[in-house]
Symmetry: C2
Subunit: 332 residues, 2 copies
DNA sequence: AAAAGTTCATGAAACGTATCATGAATTAAC
DNA sequence: GTTAATTCATGATACGTTTCATGAACTTTT
């Protein structure tokens, strides 16, 4: 006698099938159950239209199969890509994602960690902007691009190698004087190694170079000032530009064109990230491509590995160079 | 005597504070409690480092403050924007989002609805691609851009008005022969009204026009065939193009330029959606901008309104025209 | 000053599941 | 053919919270 008022529970199924509650539980969880019992239970489930209720299990076991992903937003295409691939990796393991947008607000980072704990998540993957963030010790925690300590695994691209590659590519293209531009940051984070790799390669190849970092709070116009101060007689002092982020590269290219310079004829530009315009189309600008699917896989497999003993504290994944649509387009 | 082995619970707090369990609950939930009791409880919470555990509440009340958002992905910038603003709207109401990516897979749409129910979500917002999707009746359900029935609220842009506006804008720009291109779909969904509005305006203004829809399974090259078949003596038969999606518009513009045509000098192009390249920068192409923040607000407030009695079954929000960077850029 | 009303803490009872100890029934071992 | 070992269903319990009925301690009304 199925009751309509409330959703049927395992107890209802057990009564309907004439078996014990625990038997139903084991059928639902795919554990070993005698064949006759199994079919009796399955029939009862079908008859009653029973649907599993995870809140009971969460209460009992403390586990949810949910991983919190803390990230600034999803509007930046790099973050969107990350979210996308992390979800694929989670889905593969039958996990769900609790998505937490911080909008670069460090208070919200802390709030979301607390909220995630309250929701009994099985782990946290975070791309944060507070270098002093307190990392919970009682819950698996993995960071992207931010190294906190050896006990908190960090997944990142080979940022140093990427900077190094960019410098070499610019040289290959025939550039003889390079420059690096980026948004600065108080963080001693992994992406800052892009500059180190770039500088290292320039020194090694004996190529002159400039560095321009925009500190927090400084206006974007400082970038323009920098470019104009190196602009004489219709050309720039340098002919190859490596920029810390595709996002910024895109903006800089517009500034350059506004100054009457042609990209890439007058100045070559390489960004970093590997952003495509509409997700699956050409790259927005020439760029060092981050291996986002691999980063996502590493994040998920690390955060889900209960035995955090033999997990490396820094996983560094290889990047590659790709030619960008905007850059090419203008070439024709 | 705080125990280290397990996280303290409300019962522990009650014992520590020397009050009843229910009192702790009411303090935590901000309900009316005598001042002396409240401070005793708050002290005990601080002493024990108690943290709220939502799984208990979920089990007891059946509510989670979580809304499922079912959407193809977050790589398409329009979807990313939607996710972003829906999250803002949810956060404003102290709700979390369970994000479900379908990748246009109709089976996954069904699976995620089931999963959402199992997780006791308080409601579902869905942008689906299965016209025969079975909408659960026992859980608040809101769709974006898809009308199923009067009992399932649908939030959409004014697609008809957008098509109408596009035609008028093209006329204003001096176009005398228009065309409409889009990915077709077996859905009788709201976005298909973009064509209706466009056609209606053309007829009204007495302007000749072409229609080209790419059916499911047909190759993209059919678009190119269409364009070439209207291409004679270095110019197109039409001089104004309205395209169902910015995504497609972007591709079409590349095809046009590949044919040696200049956009917008030789042919004006208007897309639909209002996609910006890097989230907060200029529009990718000239476009009819969807009011995404307002759509998100409407979705959330509708799905959270328990009294579904006086909720309209179709909410239609105004669009506007915006000039695109790519288009403008070429104008100089 | 007594009755009626109000406020608010208490203790107990769910909510739906997983799991543990128990014991019955079956199979394997000698 | 008896004992030991194995399999597997049973029944009970616990997980952390909310909420309900109860009643004690006040406050207001007449």
């Amino acid at each position: 006698m199925p009751k309509d008022s409330k959703a049927p529970t395992m107890a209802d199924v057990a009564r309907e099938a004439g078996v014990a509650l625990g038997t139903v539980s084991r059928v639902v969880n795919g554990q070993a159950v005698g064949e006759e019992y199994r079919s009796k239970v399955e029939d009862a489930i079908r008859r009653l239209g029973y649907e599993y209720n995870s809140s009971g299990r969460t209460l009992r076991t403390g586990s949810t199969n949910i991983i919190a992903l803390i990230i600034p937003n999803t509007v930046n295409p790099y973050f969107a890509l990350l979210v996308h691939h992390i979800n694929i990796a989670l889905e593969k393991r039958d996990c769900r994602m609790m998505l937490c947008f911080t909008e670069y607000d460090t208070d919200r980072e802390t709030e979301y960690i607390q909220l995630a704990r309250q929701n009994q998540v099985d782990g946290i993957i975070a791309l944060t902007y507070n270098p002093n963030l307190i990392i919970p010790a009682d819950i698996p925690f993995v960071t992207i691009d931010r190294f906190f300590s050896a006990s908190v695994p960090c997944i990142a691209s080979d940022n140093f190698g990427g900077g190094w590659l960019a410098a070499h590519k610019l040289k290959e293209m025939g550039c003889t004087h390079l420059a690096f531009m980026r948004f600065s940051s108080t963080l001693t984070n992994e992406p800052s190694k892009r500059r180190d790799g770039f500088v290292s390669a320039c020194v090694e190849m004996n190529i002159p170079f400039e560095i321009m970092a925009l500190d927090d709070g400084q206006p974007f116009s400082r970038f323009e000032d920098f470019l104009r101060s190196h602009y004489k007689k219709g050309s720039l002092a340098f002919d190859g530009l490596f920029i810390g982020t595709d996002y910024l590269a895109w903006q800089i290219i517009h500034v350059l064109r506004g100054m009457g310079l042609r990209v890439p004829e007058d100045v070559q530009v390489i960004g970093f990230d590997g952003i495509r315009i509409f997700g699956d189309q050409e790259y927005a600008v020439s760029t060092i491509v981050q291996p986002v699917p691999e980063i996502a896989e590493a994040c998920v497999s690390t955060v889900l590995s209960r035995h955090m003993s033999n997990v490396p504290s820094l996983i560094c994944l290889p990047v590659k160079y790709a030619c960008g649509g905007t850059t090419i387009e203008k070439k024709e």
